[in-house]
């Protein structure tokens, strides 16, 4: 970190730390409004059924019930991620498509009455055969889930760059492996909730959301309101991880219930309803073929995938493209083919979970490459070093990569983990594995079609100059963007972090920003904030120059002090100049916005995976396997990241810890399971097993930096919050193979699978 940074690059305490440590931070479910009602949604008990009739009369009669609504009371306009795939209604009209599909809603004076009323709504269904297996969903004669999508195909992708067949024909060694991922759920600890207040022609919604702007857009669209009459406010949010990026039935149903009753309505999901609403990780079936030359250089890769989308598109069309698009980022091969079917099933819809579509395909590729290395008799790190992407290169699918220190990541991880000492020399039952990953620093194209900039910010210096308020649409869901953006604002203004205030994620008081997804805010919102801060500073220096009777370009400002650039001598306080500015000109305000340059190619789906900059990471893990029980104990994990310039080292390491934790949960324990009727069997936090404090290994997190900072990021920043989820599954699978010689080709890498694989291995050995 160069010396001139005095605010960024420092482990400033979180701006909301005290509010959260004292219980004063209010989340959506903590908010109360006078005369507020409570509302809930009635969902389908069947995976696939026709709705014959809905009778709400008994529910309406229950004392305390103020409104009951069904599809008859709400717009029938479908919504979703892209116009070609708008397939979801606020409430089901003729059919339900999964257990948990939304049918009706109730508003009443309290929670107990709401639950009672839900039981009094009579829905007559005609059960239809359900499609639960994505592998047979496309077969002829299977029930159709959506009429407009024949053979239940939601998204079909066939991309071919270079000539994979020719590469395989010329290769020294070609192999194919197949892997299966699992359904996981984001499981934020805060359940979703929304409070709708529709009064005087204006709709105000408080929501536990990752993108107030996106919710505002869809609420306005559904109800035919100008966006200016819809205000979405994000209170504190208790984690999202992708699951709170899309509007849920809560915002839509709450809005209608509020309009009908004239009262504020608080809607919420309980834990089981969160699992049913889902939008978590897709289960993917992945076939990987690669061809390598004698030296282990990858000549071409073919990824042939099927993903279980569940009953609706959700954000899944993007997940489907991401699944393949992110694979060529880490290795310099030139021939790449990607085939994908995202199919509908009568299960909860899947969407964007940390790392989006990338972690499972990455698991498949990293396992596959370890097997290729084994076939060639080559060390797995050596194989990766020979193929690692170089800076200033372009992937076969037209992603421009500027800074890239993957080679340095691999070398540092090898050194920190003492790989060379350990690989092949660990005692029985112990193993070491490696995997790499890469992720976007913000999506190159907006979440819906629009020409709005991706991020915008305003900074207003307060009247006496002693503090400044940053107004930004960026969304802090726990990752710390409020803190990091205030540091960036202060740095750009020549001000102090401690005197920054923030108003964020309120569509009425803060300027537009797309929100918290695709690891975009430090780079994209950061650019907008930096530009706003620089505009403040320029005006302040002009004022100071006039006050001092010198030329503005002889002055600079740092940490709240205006000084002479030549001598370094302090001349004036920021506050004095700012106050004088206010007296003479009115408010001292700076603004900034950011839109990425035109990125990517022109083929179908070229937009997904484009980003101004990419992060790179290597993980090494050391595991210990109990041969009797199959238990996997991860002793230590080393994560080495190339995430560009660091704004807040403490928050950055915390992101690595959290991303790795999620990757670890998905690697070993987490899986949503269903019965043969499509009902979730483990929709709670006892049986859907999140890692506890007792399950976590020792984590060593290290960084590498490029000599030339990333040009596409403000001060050279890149992604960190999702990148560390991506390598973990493959890294653990490779370590388990190293320990026991068993290749687990499906996720999660459960104790039971280890135990069974060891048993099969023993039995095979005894037969021979």
């Amino acid at each position: 970190m160069p010396e001139e940074f005095d605010v960024i690059g420092r482990a400033k305490p979180k701006i909301d730390g005290r509010a959260k440590a004292t219980g004063q931070a209010r989340y959506c479910g903590d908010l109360k409004f006078p005369n507020m009602l409570v509302g809930k949604i009635l969902t389908s008990p069947y995976a696939h059924a026709r709705i014959l009739s809905i009778d709400t009369s008994e529910a309406e009669k229950l004392p305390g019930v103020k409104a009951v609504i069904t599809h008859r009371d709400v717009p029938d306009l479908k919504y979703g991620i892209s116009p070609a795939r708008w397939d979801e209604n606020i409430f089901c009209i003729d059919k339900v498509r999964f257990v948990g599909d939304k049918v009706a809603a109730v508003a009443a004076v309290d929670e107990e009455t709401v639950y009672q009323a839900l039981k009094l709504i009579r829905v007559e269904y005609e059960e239809l055969p359900a499609v639960l297996d994505p592998l047979t969903s496309m077969d002829e004669g299977m029930p159709q889930i959506h009429e407009q999508f024949p053979r239940n195909i939601n998204t079909e992708i066939h991309q071919h760059f270079g000539d994979v067949e020719k590469a395989f024909a010329e290769a020294y060694h070609v192999r194919t492996d197949r892997f299966v991922g699992q359904r996981t759920y984001q499981s934020p600890i805060e359940p979703h909730s929304a409070i709708a207040i529709w009064a005087d022609g204006k709709l105000t919604v408080y929501s536990s959301t990752q993108s107030p702007h996106y919710f505002q857009y869809y609420l306005a669209r559904e109800f035919g309101l100008p966006m200016g009459d819809v205000r979405v406010i994000k209170p504190f949010v208790g984690g999202g991880f992708g699951g709170k990026l899309e509007p849920t039935g809560l915002e839509f149903a709450g809005a209608v219930l509020s309009r009908l009753t004239g009262r504020p309505v608080k809607m919420f999901y309980d834990r089981h309803e969160m699992f049913a609403h889902n939008r978590g990780r897709h289960r993917q079936y992945m076939e990987i073929t690669s061809g390598v030359d004698k030296d282990g250089r990858i000549l071409g890769v073919h990824a042939n995938f099927i993903m279980d989308g569940g009953a609706y598109t959700s954000l899944g069309v993007a997940s489907a493209y991401y699944a393949g698009a992110m694979l060529p980022l880490t290795y310099g091969f030139e021939n790449f083919k990607f085939d994908m079917y995202r199919v509908y099933t009568n299960l909860p819809a899947c969407g964007a979970q940390r790392g989006h579509g990338a972690p499972q395909p990455r698991y498949a590729l990293e396992c596959h490459l370890d097997m290729v290395a084994g076939d060639l008799g080559m060390d797995p790190i050596e194989l990766r070093l020979r193929n690692a992407r170089r800076p200033d290169t372009v992937t076969p699918n037209d992603f421009q990569v500027n800074s890239c220190e993957l080679t340095a990541c691999l070398e540092k991880a090898r050194e920190l983990s003492r790989w060379d000492e350990k690989k092949g020399h660990l005692p029985p039952g112990r193993g070491i594995g490696v995997a790499v990953g890469s992720f976007v620093s913000g999506a190159g194209y907006p979440i819906y079609r629009t020409d709005l900039p991706h991020a915008a910010a305003v900074i207003r210096v307060n009247e006496d100059g002693t503090s400044a308020t940053l107004y930004t649409g960026a969304v802090d869901i726990g990752q710390g963007s409020d803190t990091v953006l205030c540091q960036m604002a202060a740095q750009a203004m020549g001000f102090t972090y401690e005197n920054m205030k923030i108003v964020s994620a309120d569509t009425e008081t803060a300027p537009h920003d797309f929100g918290a997804y695709a690891s975009r805010q430090t780079l994209m919102s950061g650019w907008a904030v930096k530009r706003a801060g620089e505009e403040v500073k320029a005006q302040l220096l002009d004022m100071a120059a006039a006050m001092l009777g010198v030329a503005a370009d002889t002055l600079d400002c740092r940490m709240g002090v205006v000084f002479d650039r030549a001598t370094g001598e302090g001349k004036l306080d920021f506050a004095q100049a700012a106050r004088a500015f206010f007296v003479k000109h009115g408010p001292l305000v700076g603004k900034g916005s950011y839109a990425p340059p035109k990125l990517g190619g022109t083929f179908k789906g070229a937009a997904v995976g484009t980003s101004p900059a990419y992060s790179f990471a290597t993980q090494v893990s050391e595991v210990e396997i109990d041969a009797e029980t199959g238990e996997i104990k991860v002793a230590e994990v080393w994560d080495v990241h190339d995430c560009g310039t660091v704004i807040n080292p403490a928050l950055l390491s915390a992101q690595v810890h959290g991303a790795l934790y999620m990757g670890m949960g998905e690697s070993v324990w987490e899986q949503v399971v269903f019965d043969d009727k499509g009902r979730i069997l483990n929709g709670n936090l006892g049986e859907y097993r999140l890692p506890t404090a007792l399950d976590m290994p020792k984590i060593t997190s290290a960084l590498v930096h490029s000599e030339v900072p990333e040009p596409a990021g403000p001060w050279g920043v890149k992604e960190v919050g999702e990148g560390a989820t991506i390598p973990t599954m493959g890294c653990y699978a490779n370590a388990i193979y190293d320990a026991m010689g068993i290749r687990l080709d499906s996720l999660p890498l459960s104790y039971e699978k280890v135990w069974r694989a060891l048993k099969e291995k023993r039995e095979a050995a005894s037969v021979n």
Binding site: A11, P13, K14, D16, G17, R18, A19, K20, A21, T22, G23, Q24, A25, R26, Y27, G29, D30, K32, P63, Q186, S187, P188, I189, E190, P191, F236, V237, G238, G239, F241, D270, R271, I477, G478, Q479, G480, A650, L651, S653, A654, H657, G658, L660, Y661, M662, M664, N684, L685, G686, L690, P691, T692, A693, L694, M696, I699
Partner: protein
Amino acid sequence: MEDRQGRSRHLVTLVVNGDEYTLAVKANTLLVNVLRDMLDLTGTKRGCELGDCGSCTVLLDGRPVNSCLVLAVEADGHEVTTIEGVAQNDRLDRIQEAFIENAAIQCGYCTPGMILSAKALLTRNPHPTEAEVRQAIAGNLCRCTGYVNIVKAVLAAAENS
């Protein structure tokens, strides 16, 4: 005392953060809902309502409990400490300080429960080992931090005692 649907109410007296409250509750009213809905102490969070996540952890006579698994009538006559009662007026508890200093807070939803579990631990065991800290917070799920900085914070608070 019965309402129009024939459900009776029970008077309970709780001492919450040192203050005494007498409240009329139903037999099935949960402690977590008394704290949040009747006393407006929303620092106690609802996460799962099944005792799995630990977000609603409070101290009942000094012991950590999931307040979603405690009936209000069971708490009658007992002392409850919520996150709002941890700081002494404006002065934060050393555990709260340590959570802020060690970047142990991300979304903050598990934080109140986590701090109360840590508080109970340090009260009964002022100098715990790392394993004891992990054991003490094993019933509090955090989805953000991987527990790394939380464990560090609790150990730091113990050191500063």
